[in-house]
Symmetry: C2
Subunit: 339 residues, 2 copies
């Protein structure tokens, strides 16, 4: 069905269209790529490609534009990931090395990705599922209010206010604090609930509701905070999207405001280095039907901590973008492993 030449034609179409943002015709194609055949032949191939749904003609007398399916084939079989140049790699390395803390690493990564790809960059905070509890602190703020402070072995601190169902005595609080730390200190997040589930029984029946309230808040904190945070940047690059502005850009901006959507977009976790490309309608979210997402897992060592990626028009430079995303992910992983 698709011989070598047809694939070459498709590749050429994608490349040209990405460059010019205009439908590409048979004549221009043979001029810019030495395909070794005449425009007429290319036209036949194009007709075949169109029949198979890889390209599409906006109007009868216009050139061809790749479809989502066409981009998909291009990404899967035709594109070679373009590695970054040595100076670029050095710049990345240097830029990330000067980060002072986790927030800074993430912020810099976002900037970097946005600048390199000239698209919208999204970076998920490293997952804490491998973290463990260093210390849990409880502070009575008011008779029925307790502040819970969780300190992780990575130095991260999370705090929550617990509304207790009954007044909490200072002795109970101290007891609970001691027992919590005895049972949970050094334990990895996912295992904490199991270690603590019997804890309420160590207390007087009157105090158990309070203990349970504190515990459930703690569990929530362990789970929730872990995966949720995302930072994004480079939204100004959306202005390079297309000429038919507001309609294209609005749903994208709306999507970007929803953490949930962003998280789903980055997709299920995968091994570090595993690059995922979702093209146009392959994204569940409707507003992103004309965008593609290139994402990759990053992590220290062989375990994936989180994902990062970029969001851009389906008409994007896939090889370049994939190269940049991968490179950044690798360096971020290294930085995190070192610190």
């Amino acid at each position: 069905m698709l011989d070598e030449r047809k694939l070459a034609v498709l590749r050429a179409i994608v490349q040209d269209y990405v460059g010019t943002e205009e439908p590409v015709g048979s004549k221009a194609l043979v001029e810019r790529h030495n395909l070794g055949v005449s425009p007429a032949t290319v036209r036949n191939d194009m007709a075949a490609l169109e029949d198979d749904g890889y390209i599409h003609q906006p109007h009868t007398s216009a050139g061809r534009v790749p479809t989502d399916k066409g981009y998909r084939l291009f990404v899967d079989r035709l594109a070679e990931v373009k590695p970054l140049s040595a100076p670029e790699r050095r710049a990345i390395r240097h830029f990330l090395d000067s980060a002072v803390d986790l927030d800074d690493v993430v912020a810099r990564t976002v900037r970097l990705l946005a600048q390199l790809t000239r698209q919208v960059a999204v970076v998920q905070y490293p997952s804490l599922s491998r973290s463990s509890v260093r210390h849990v602190e409880l502070l009575g703020l008011a008779p029925t209010k307790v502040m819970l402070v969780l300190i992780t072995n990575t130095g991260r601190v999370e705090q929550r206010i617990v509304d207790a169902p009954a007044p909490v005595g200072e002795t109970v609080l101290a007891d609970l604090r001691a027992r919590l730390n005895a049972a949970a200190a050094g334990v990895r997040f996912p295992e904490v609930p199991a270690r603590l589930q019997d804890l309420p029984e160590a207390f007087e029946p009157d105090d158990r509701p309070v203990v349970s309230a504190v515990l459930s808040t703690l569990f929530e904190t362990l789970v929730e905070r872990t995966e949720e945070r995302i930072m994004l940047g480079g939204t100004a690059n959306l202005t390079r999207f297309g000429h038919d502005f507001p309609l294209t850009i609005r749903p994208v901006l709306e999507a970007l405001e929803e953490q949930v959507v962003l998280l789903r977009l980055l997709g299920e976790t995968a091994e570090p280095g595993m690059t995922t490309v979702r093209i146009g309608h392959e994204n569940d979210y409707e507003g992103l039907n004309s965008t593609s997402v290139v994402s990759v897992g990053y992590g220290s060592g062989d375990e994936s901590l989180a994902k990062l990626g970029v969001i851009g028009p389906t008409r994007m430079d896939y090889p370049g973008t994939m190269g940049a995303v991968r490179a950044v992910a690798r360096y971020v992983g290294q930085i995190l492993a070192e610190s």
Copy 2:
């Protein structure tokens, strides 16, 4: 120079233009507002207003559009801040009440502001410099390493590692923790050093260097961490900006990516409730020449903790926006005071 009627005309022009987004002519003006005079009279007034630079004519045969100066006059003398409706206030209250921690309060505030005003919302995290100490926690990590956790009355948490000059015993740590909290709890940051300066003398000479090390780290934390954080949202509302899209929106998006610019935009701090409006060219930043910023200080009690506000086109509903911004600021202040 500007009699009552001219002011009424200006007010009417601003109101109509904000509503319709189209230059407003004399005839439409007398039809929609009962000014009690004929279009011809209004035209004369308009000519005068234009001479004084309050309004402007895009083309010879077009209606008038307010200038920055016109909006300024409107805001200063003609606009009455529109209070929110009772249901709206209830909704705000309810929405903010369900926040679980500081991050959540800020995030919800941003969403709220963006939705209420249908513009881009910006919320600065409560500043540390005006906060007071709620609790200081010390954790021995290693013989000569102590983690210092500072919890502020606004729910913010800062942590530092202290390198002690000598091994620190658990009893000393407990003693220090107790004394620190006794002396500093509830005290405003700037006054903390004075309260604690004699503290080392309460300890054995051997332990004093350790105490001093902890104290100096604490003082540093109080002062240093001025790096103000900002959260923004509602960027999708930018798409309602104008019809001449990319050119208007791009510099705005670029500005919004720069924390520094945002901080400058919110401006110098002021008392809580003090509403500031910067119109068009009154903003230093060039890219925001066709936007206005409505900002207000918020805080618990009578002291301003930080600012929040919205950014929108100069052609915005100032009374409504100011009302919403003020109301949200007041509620956020309350929430922070309670927690």
